[in-house]
């Protein structure tokens, strides 16, 4: 009798131990997955800062560009105003996105505003083509050159950001991590994609 109950007591302990271990394993997995997602989310948020730096640089260039062009383009006020307006909107959208790139719609809004700005800039540069004096202006040449190089850097930073977003999105969609992602509100991150049209309209012209 003594041994039977001791064995029973022991088996209850073992069962209890297995349950505890099982719970522990689950808890460990939840914590690990959660932390992994946080790390990846931080990484794409960090990657956004490089886009932001270059966008800011471009927003700083545009007023100078408009100022230089103003003197020559007396009859193109609309084009110039469109650029200034689009810049203002893109600037506001970029500030929203920079404060939290993971917020729903933040990056999408920025992409939209950027496409508008790219279109307006493209039209302005097309107009500039018709004014040889302005085209030959030293200041203008330098500004457009800098604009082009900034565009290129934005594209490069965008690539890095999208890489990080893809990594995060794939991990959060995988089973069973998607359960954790759903429970703790890891929403899908938005790619920073420029639509084909806007890309074409973006000022890729060089004056050299």
């Amino acid at each position: 009798m003594h041994y039977i109950s001791m064995a029973l007591g022991f088996s209850v302990l073992v069962v209890l131990g297995i349950i505890v271990l099982f719970l522990l394993g689950i808890a460990g997995w939840v914590v690990g997955t959660y932390n992994g997602l946080v790390t990846l989310r931080n990484r794409f948020k960090n990657a956004f800062s490089q886009i932001d730096v270059q966008l800011k640089r471009r927003y700083d260039l545009i007023p100078n560009l408009v100022e230089t062009a103003k003197g020559y383009l007396k009859h193109e006020r609309e084009t110039l105003e469109a650029v200034v307006k689009a810049r203002g909107e893109a600037l506001a959208a970029s500030q929203r996105a920079a404060s939290n790139p993971a917020a729903t719609g933040a990056v999408k809004d920025l992409v939209g505003a950027e496409a508008t700005l790219g279109g307006a800039l493209g039209r302005l540069l097309a107009v500039v083509e018709q004014y040889p004096d302005l085209k030959a202006n030293q200041n203008m040449m330098q500004l457009t050159e800098e604009l082009t190089s900034t565009e290129n850097k934005i594209a490069f930073a965008r690539q890095a950001y999208n890489d990080a977003v893809m990594l995060y999105n794939t991990d959060r969609e995988k089973f069973p991590a998607n359960i954790i992602a759903g429970m703790f509100g890891f929403t899908a991150a938005e790619l920073f994609e420029v639509s084909g049209e806007a890309e074409r309209q973006a000022p890729k012209v060089s004056f050299s």
């Binding site: 001791m6 302990l13 505890v20 914590v31 800062s49 490089q50």
Partner: protein, 669 residues
């Protein structure tokens, strides 16, 4: 204490950690056993009607299920000592602690970045930020250039109003520095420098690595109390109805008691954890304070920062929920002042200040935000004349040591780098362009060929930037080329892993395009690998495997031969002489006629890499001895060219020993 003694001390502290940890595990196991004994054994001893109860159970035909449930407290007069119970408790507890520690270790295995993001840090892009952030980044960059470690990534704890900072990572290559918002707001540049110097001493002295292990170990020990909490909740929700015929409620009650006991026992684990942390971390804080004064020669800096902690209502306390886990990483006490000194991770503030500033009267200043005038971003101090190491032992003594002269020198060095290049180094495209520019051949035709190849390999942005910056890169002093690359590492860390995978083959193509590898190329390649790979790939962390020369002597001889050949410029007589004096410094037994490796062998980069990798697993003492021999070989001709010096630095760096840059007066303005 020199750099190597600090490393040895850190290793001793690690052994102490292992010992204390084992002690704590034993303590916790005993406590858990006591908890189980109270639940399972005590009722059998003090339940007066145990015998009648047993009889009732045996005669009741419906007792199968009851026996299963009641068996736990069925047996009476069980002895207090139950080996099988103890065994299962010991195994279970060890498993829990082990699993807990392992999970934490896995979580922080990607290095300092993981700790920083755990604590709510936001990475500061090296090319962004307001004046306050810019100033912080400048201070960190100067300190890194002065000490020869790669510039650590800087994280801002934007939500923390108190004054605090930390350094985390396994090695200088993956180290990060985190700083609270209060730190950048309230501290002057000198004070900030004092705090950053304190953190650099943790980076240089191997404390960080110890702290990482401490974090995992303590987390494991405190795991029991978390489980106790979970069991407590489980018991709370389990059925607890209790009447004369139904003993099911006993499960719930038992779980409640067990949970509460585990929780209390867990608190014993927490207590042990705090004691271990305090035992290991407090002394190191005093050392780091002293090192900060030694590095900056400015006791006012760190003392001022400590006084401001005292003067600020928030002090150095942290808001983040996870702060307790990492309290030993911090500059100041991150938690509330403990009721009992033995548990504090940091010595009392007043005592720390008094050790630095004996005239301290105990009155803390009123703290107001510092305004950062633009001019104070980079102070224009005249660079001092740095003594160039004249012999090998000077060189070895300079490893991992910072002086204020070196910090001033680094400031001047940074100022001497043209602004467009410095800006480029801080952003990814520009940093890639700088690396390409440094590797492009001087010769026009060869350069054109290389550019053609490069155009096909890299992004249009990188290529355009390379062409734009090339004239500036060519124009800088040769001595500034590697410091520039050191700064550019920050920009390169901003690449995505895919972009990094494009960069390295492009770099290799530039290096090997002309079928030969010169010293500068080798050094730059080494620097990029050492400082970037831990960031992009899962890093392997060399552990100390070799305490004596026998297993790694061939590697040391190969490296010494390579150094001897590199310095002699093809003259076999001179190289042999250099090799002989170098070898004579190795304390590897009586024999002195070790064979020198042939020149062709030394040109095999894969072999050199492998040799450095193995030597990296030597004890600090072995490394010190090897570096002494290496420096002796290089200085055999009583002079050390810039290339030789940089090569020596790169080799020391590959062994995890950061060497401050050598002074060249014509280099800085």
């Amino acid at each position: 204490m020199d750099f190597f003694e600090h490393q040895e001390a850190a290793r001793r502290a690690t052994r102490k950690l292992v010992f204390l940890f084992a002690l704590a595990v034993v303590g916790v196991v005993l406590a858990v056993y006591a908890a189980f004994a109270i639940v399972l054994i005590a009722p059998t001893r003090y339940q007066g009607d145990g015998a009648t109860y047993a009889l009732e159970l045996m005669t009741n035909p419906d007792s199968e299920r009851q026996r299963a449930l009641g068996a736990v407290d069925f047996l009476f007069d069980r002895p207090w000592w139950d080996p099988s119970l103890f065994l299962s408790v010991a195994v279970g507890t060890a498993l829990v602690i082990g699993l807990g520690g392992a999970s934490k270790a896995a979580q922080i295995s990607s290095g300092g970045r993981a700790v920083a993001s755990l604590l709510g840090g936001r990475l500061l892009a090296p090319n962004s930020g307001g004046l306050e952030e810019r100033r912080l980044l400048n201070v960190v960059e100067e300190m890194a250039l002065a000490s020869g470690v790669p510039v650590p990534a800087v994280y801002l704890l934007a939500e923390e109003p108190g004054i605090n900072a930390f350094a985390a990572g396994f090695s200088p290559a993956d180290a990060v520095i985190g700083v609270t918002r209060g730190c950048v707001r309230f501290l002057s540049r000198d004070e900030l420098q004092g705090v950053v110097a304190h953190e650099f001493s943790h980076i240089l002295n191997g404390d960080m690595r110890l702290n990482m292990r401490l974090m995992a170990a303590v987390f494991g020990i405190t795991m029991i109390s978390s489980i106790g909490g979970a069991v407590l909740r489980l018991g709370f929700y389990a059925p607890r109805r209790r009447d004369s015929n139904n003993r099911e409620g006993g499960v719930g009650a038992a779980l409640l008691i067990l949970g509460a006991l585990l929780y209390i026992v867990g608190c014993i684990g927490v207590l042990f954890g705090s004691l271990i942390r305090a035992a290991i971390s407090r002394q190191r804080e005093f050392l780091a304070d002293a090192a900060s004064v030694q590095f900056t020669r400015n006791p006012g800096g760190i003392a001022g920062a400590l006084k401001k902690i005292g003067g600020l209502a928030q002090g150095s306390r942290l808001m983040a929920a996870r702060a307790a886990e990492a309290s030993h990483f911090y500059f100041g006490n991150g938690l509330r002042e403990s009721w009992f000194n033995a548990f504090a991770t940091h010595p009392p503030l007043g005592e720390r200040i008094l050790r630095i500033d004996p005239d301290f009267d105990g009155v803390f200043p009123e703290v107001t935000p510092e305004d950062v005038p633009e001019s104070r971003l980079a102070p224009a101090r005249t660079p001092p004349r740095l003594p160039t190491p004249l012999n090998a032992s000077d060189f070895v003594a300079g490893i991992g040591v910072l002086t204020n002269a070196q910090i001033y020198y680094a400031e001047a060095m940074r100022r001497s780098i043209p602004k467009p290049l410095l800006e480029a180094a801080h952003e990814p495209v520009g940093a890639c362009a700088l690396v390409f520019g440094l590797l492009l051949a001087e010769d026009g035709a060869a350069c054109a060929r290389q550019l053609q190849d490069l155009r096909a390999r890299v992004d249009v942005a990188q290529f355009a930037e390379t062409e734009r910056l090339l004239p500036d890169v060519r124009a800088i002093d040769v001595g500034l080329r590697l410091p520039l690359a050191d700064v550019a590492v920050q920009g390169l860390r901003q690449l995505s892993p895919d972009q990094f995978d494009v960069l390295m083959p492009a770099v290799d193509a530039l290096v090997w395009g002309d079928q030969r590898l010169d010293l500068f190329e080798f050094t730059l390649l080494r620097l990029l690998r050492r400082h970037l790979e831990p960031h992009f790939r899962p890093a392997e962390r060399p552990a100390v495997r070799y305490e004596t020369w026998e297993p790694v002597l061939p590697e040391a001889l190969l490296l010494l031969s390579a150094l001897a050949w590199a310095g002699a410029g093809g003259d076999s007589g001179r190289s042999t002489a250099a090799f002989r004096v170098g070898v004579s410094q190795l304390e590897a037994g009586e024999r002195r006629d070790w064979p020198m490796a042939a020149q062709e062998e030394c040109c095999d980069l894969a072999r050199i890499d492998a040799a450095l990798g193995r030597l990296c697993e030597g004890s600090p003492w072995l490394k010190k001895n090897f570096l002494l021999a290496a420096a002796t070989a290089v200085m055999e001709d009583r002079e050390m060219s810039l290339e030789e010096g940089e090569l020596l630095r790169a080799i020391a760096d590959s062994l995890g020993c950061p060497v401050p840059p050598f002074a060249r007066d014509e280099m800085v303005r």
